[in-house]
Amino acid sequence: MSFVSVENLQKNYGSTAVFSDINCEIHKGEFVTLLGPSGCGKSTLLRCIAGLTSVTSGRIFLDGKDLVPVSPQKRGIGMVFQSYALFPNMNVEQNVAFGLRMQKVSTDEMKQRVAEVLKLVELNEFASRYPHQLSGGQCQRVALARSLVTRPRLLLLDEPLSALDARIRKHLREQIRAIQQELGLTTIFVTHDQEEALTMSDRIFLMNQGRIVQSGDAETLYTAPVDAFAAGFIGNYNLLEADAASRLMQRPINSRVAIRPEAIQLSLTGSLEGEVRSHSLLGNVIRYRVEARGVELVVDVLNRSASDLHPNGQRVTLHIEASALCEVA
């Protein structure tokens, strides 16, 4: 039986639905991500699970118990916010201890548990600092420690990395995942960043316009998008209408297809002729725009050496495996 289960959840603001018909199951110890563009309802869904926003209809079960009538204080859920939401008037230790203070835990136990969790996020040296004396990454680790110290049954992370710079984001991503696995903590992570979702999650729920469009592990989501939205949001898929796809492959194709840019091979000899329109260097990958049979395709090639580069205007041939064509709705 699943640990968290959301059934027919719906949230309206006035007459407009933020999301409707949300159904999902999350297993104990699983790290799942709600991925989607801004405004798709993912953060509101998270707030509904936390109890910070009321739901219009539907039920949320945590360990077999319906959470909807339970107040946020009593749900046993920890949450980390994009804005950190650290209490500016308290130092790191007091911030982390706040939840234990509310639970009236004894002073000795409080001290010990705060020290433990600060060690876990590698901030034990910073216990007496105030939030304004910390960097963004440190603030978010304090926020993580504060939500972990009460030993929540479920951890919610609402775009916790979005306000941080790239290098720290990457490091903290790994740290969060390591801590989550060490504690075996069931976690729901909200992000609009596909790379974060793909690298961190056991399972991803892809959301768009208030619905879960597709769910599955990173591999499935990346290689088998169910529709044009999924193909467009994850990876840089070439999306072709049926007639363009038929012309390109020279066989009848009845639906739209998506082709991953790295699934197209580029060489100087082959059957499908094309011409390089432009190219850009993305570091380890060179991204070409190639026109073939009146269709413009994005092709990613590993950047092996400078001599391999095809200049703009060069005639090239393409090879596309039939299995690389992914039919989408």
Binding site: A50, P72, Q73, M79, F81, A85, F87, M102, R146, S147
Partner: protein
Amino acid sequence: MSRAERRPPGLYHRVVVYLLFLILLAPLLGTFVYSIATSWSATILPDGLTYKWYVALWSDPRFLRAFGQSLLVCVGALALSVVLILPLLFVVHYHFPKLDALMNILILLPFAVPPVVSSVGLLQLYGSGPLAMVGTPWILIGCYFTVALPFMYRAITNNLQAINLVDLMDAAQLLGANTFQAAFLVVLPNLRKGLMIALLLSFSFLFGEFVFANLLVGTRYETLQVYLNNMRNSSGHFNSALVISYFFFVLLLTWAANRLNKDKD
């Protein structure tokens, strides 16, 4: 560009600043010198210096009573506004953020109606009947509450917007705090700065208020400014001593509030 890289201010900039200080301080300095002068009329400098005006002022029981009464009315009005406005602001910003626009118009009303005009209305309303308060300090406390409202509301609103109220409340509640605990332990301590500024501004303003005090209460509950007005026919030296005493009291209060408000780094 960081501050360290900046060139030192040029002569022109410094002259502007000093000139401004001079213009602001000159009348104060004049008043101060006059308040310690034995007599100063047809000469450039006073004839002699003396403390006697201050001694006379601070040993006048009528002055001491007016001073205490002013203090009482101001503190009363500010206490009332803290008790009423803090919860109001909290509710507006946490539950009904859209009401902020309406509140911004409402708080301008005390400024929109000149005190001379609103006094007439207040005299009509509270002059007789079940709420006959004219001539008592109570009407001043109520009236000063409305005068302090804009200062209190704006300063605390700015502070509230700076602390990300909703996220702080949410975080506190998820950690097990009820609304009161979250408000008292998390939000209130972070409003200290805005509250101090609001109180200080309002206090300085109310302590010097004359029109309402004179029209609504007058000599029946004499405040400092009314006392000053009633003493206008006595010695100018004596009045100068009063003004300077009043000024230093406000200055001292400002300094003390700033000291209390320093960040504990």
